[in-house]
């Protein structure tokens, strides 16, 4: 009887103690898993899970639990998803979100949860980290302006475009992309006499097409997906023949593979992007192999979303490893490790953060070319290493130029 009692006590104590020993570290991942972005958002999740898998799913004996949650591209839904992950699922670290306005919303939310560390997914609004930044929000990647670095200079010097018209969607991400292009292009000597802001999902671009001035040398098109296809189709049908310069999400596979008659406009078009699917760097080839092995039913190569979620989650794993999986003391040690982290990115550069906890990145200038079989592809024409958020300018001057908007920057 007595022995039984002791056994029962031991069991009871064991039951109390055991969970404490095997306490997992929980990482919440927020991505868009519904609507038009669902398949891309899914690839973001793959990227985050890949980083955890790569580390064996364990840090210093503690297993890493990944819990995913969906948003629908709206800031409200991202905030709801984050609150659920934090308050109900008790995650320690959040990775996400996917789109720009969601990023700013989570940056604001992170101020109400000082004990949780937020690591950005692929959202690329400038103000997420540049202005009003949050102590516990990290971005191991660039913003939309960093993603255009190299293109302005290339367009002015290599392509010889002296003046360019801009056609872009009317929200924060394209504003930031236009800033990245113009700040380089204008200081090289180029001019942007006219900017056209169109609502997202616009179908009829005829008023824009017929308002593009005759004397510009090219058009910078910062539209995404169907918007880009619609604009280029209508521009081509109207007899437009100005060469195109692309934003980071303008020239993607859907544009290159579409059978539109605008193909000739695209050949030779430069664009800026941090992720080139068929880049031939050694690290990228290794990363693609890792991705393909883990996700045979994924895309043929990691997308920009998989790439960025991977970097965010990888940073978390590396920093966790450095602090031996300890998140005590309000995660101070973990955050210090994140802040000082340096690692080799899949594109072969060295990822590290600036004082606003924003990534210093590699950026690519690509160009569209025609393969022998007549299909279109992109190839890298220039790699720019170590691009920081102030685009290499003096931070004070850069900040003094104010937040991006329809009218800022301007060089007519």
């Amino acid at each position: 009887m007595k022995r039984l009692k002791i056994a029962a006590t031991a069991l009871a104590i064991g039951a109390v103690v055991a969970p404490a020993q095997a306490e997992d570290i929980k990482i919440g991942v927020i991505s868009i898993l519904e609507g038009a972005f669902a398949s891309l958002g899914q690839d973001g999740i793959r990227g985050a899970e890949l980083a955890v898998k790569e580390a064996g799913g364990v840090v210093d004996g503690q297993s890493i639990d990944v819990i995913t949650m969906s948003s629908d591209a709206s800031p409200d839904s991202a905030v709801n998803a984050a609150r659920k992950l934090i308050e109900q699922d008790n995650v320690d670290i959040l990775v996400g979100p996917l789109s720009g306005s969601e990023g700013i919303a989570l940056r604001d939310l992170s101020k109400s949860y000082p004990d949780i560390t937020f690591i950005n997914g692929s959202s690329a609004a400038q103000d997420t980290t540049l202005r009003d930044s949050s102590e516990n929000f990290f971005r191991f990647g660039g913003d939309g302006a960093q993603w255009m670095v190299g293109v302005g200079q290339y367009a002015y010097e290599e392509m010889g475009y002296k003046s360019v018209a801009v056609v872009a969607e009317d929200y924060s991400f394209p504003y930031t992309q236009v800033l990245g292009f113009m700040s380089e292009y204008c200081s090289a000597g180029g001019r942007v006499p006219e900017k056209f802001w169109t609502p997202i999902g616009n179908k009829d671009y005829s008023s824009v097409v017929y308002s593009i001035p005759d004397d510009v040398d090219a058009i910078f098109v910062a539209l995404g997906g169907a918007d880009a296809v619609n604009f280029l189709t209508q521009y081509d049908q109207a007899g437009g023949d100005k060469p195109i310069i692309g934003g980071s999400i303008t020239i993607d596979s859907s544009i290159l593979e579409s059978k539109g008659p605008f193909k000739n406009l695209l050949i030779g078009a430069p664009a800026g992007t941090p992720t080139v699917s068929d880049y031939e760097g050694d690290e990228w080839i290794a990363f693609t192999a890792l991705y393909n092995e883990a996700y045979p039913d994924g895309f043929s190569a990691p997308s920009i979303f998989a790439h960025h979620y991977y970097m965010g989650a990888k940073a978390a794993m590396l920093a966790l490893d450095e602090v031996d999986g300890s998140l005590d003391d309000g995660q101070q040690a973990f955050r210090a490790a994140l802040t000082d982290l340096e690692f080799v990115t899949p594109t072969g550069g060295t990822m590290r953060l600036d004082e606003n906890r924003n990534g210093i990145i590699d950026n690519f200038v690509t160009e569209v070319y025609e393969r022998e079989d007549g299909s279109l592809g992109t190839r890298v024409v220039k790699v720019v290493r170590d691009v920081n958020q102030v685009l290499g300018q003096d931070p004070e001057i850069f900040l003094a130029s104010g937040p991006v908007s329809r009218d800022n920057p301007s060089c007519p």
């Binding site: 898993l33 519904e34 669902a38 899914q42 999740i45 995913t68 949650m69 969906s70 629908d72 591209a73 709206s74 800031p75 409200d76 839904s77 905030v79 709801n80 609150r83 659920k84 308050e87 109900q88 306005s101 700013i104 919303a105 604001d108 939310l109 009003d132 009317d170 929200y171 924060s172 609502p199 997202i200 908007s405 329809r406």
Partner: protein, 328 residues
Amino acid sequence: MKAGFLALPLIALPFVLNDFWLTQIATRALILGITALSLSFLATYLGVVSFAQITLAGIAGYTIAYFGPNTVGVGIKLPFWVSIPAALLFSVTAGALIGYIARRSRGIYAIMITLAIGVAFFYFTRQNYAVFNGWTGFSGITAPVVAGTSLRDPSTLYFLSLATAAIAVVLVSLFARAPLGLAIQAVRDAPSRVMALGIPVTTPVVAAFAFSGLIAGGGGILNVWYQERISSFSVGLGPIIDVLIIAVIGGLRHPLGAFLGAIVFVLLDTFAVDLIDRDRFNTLIGMVLLIIVMVAPNGLQQLAADAVAKLRAKEHQSGKSARIKTNT
């Protein structure tokens, strides 16, 4: 007595639930329920399904954002005792205006007009930068601090939402019985007879919409404090349809239906992703809603009321038979 049964557990909730359940589930359901109530009020008493209720809530929310503390640098900061009445005033005025525009339409035509207004407002907020700050909208909105406690504090916001919901339910019940409410129902049932009696039809319709604007505005103010942000997404087609779903599955006949619908909707919306493969959770939500509409064509409220009535009848019968037994 009946109200007591309902009120006690609701008042006890903050002492039982953790912050997540209290804020993300209970408070959110109450807030959505208030906005859905403004829709079911119009549907029940005026016989008009309005898709513009989120617009009215949005107008109140944007007013709070524009005249309150925010981090986007748009707007004028006013004390909350000015901005809250202003928000309600705007939503009531907007409600009256929508009522005036839609005064002669019924059925599908009223739906089309209110839907057009809702979608137009959505695109307007997305493209107007001076007042609505376009795509980005307002973030960093903080609820006012009264006597040292922020109204965003979990239990404070819960009680505030609960009180607002209770007031809204009572107001709807009183309004329905008041002369104006009776006139509205007469307009619903026989507009030509009302006209023949010499009562103008426009006034009751405009009054009903204005009153729904008051309720929706209350929901809108609470929502912007709860979300701490508002943008064009908050007044888009998604929320418009969400509120319609809540009103329909909850049941249009009784004011409490909106809240029943809201709690089911919020639970599904929050936990469906845990129950099923993350690629398919929207299918689950759709299936459950479909089943509810099929099993309970008059909404969950009616289903619950029927169940209670059946139980009572059984009790009554067994009580009777027991008495008969003792008599013999």
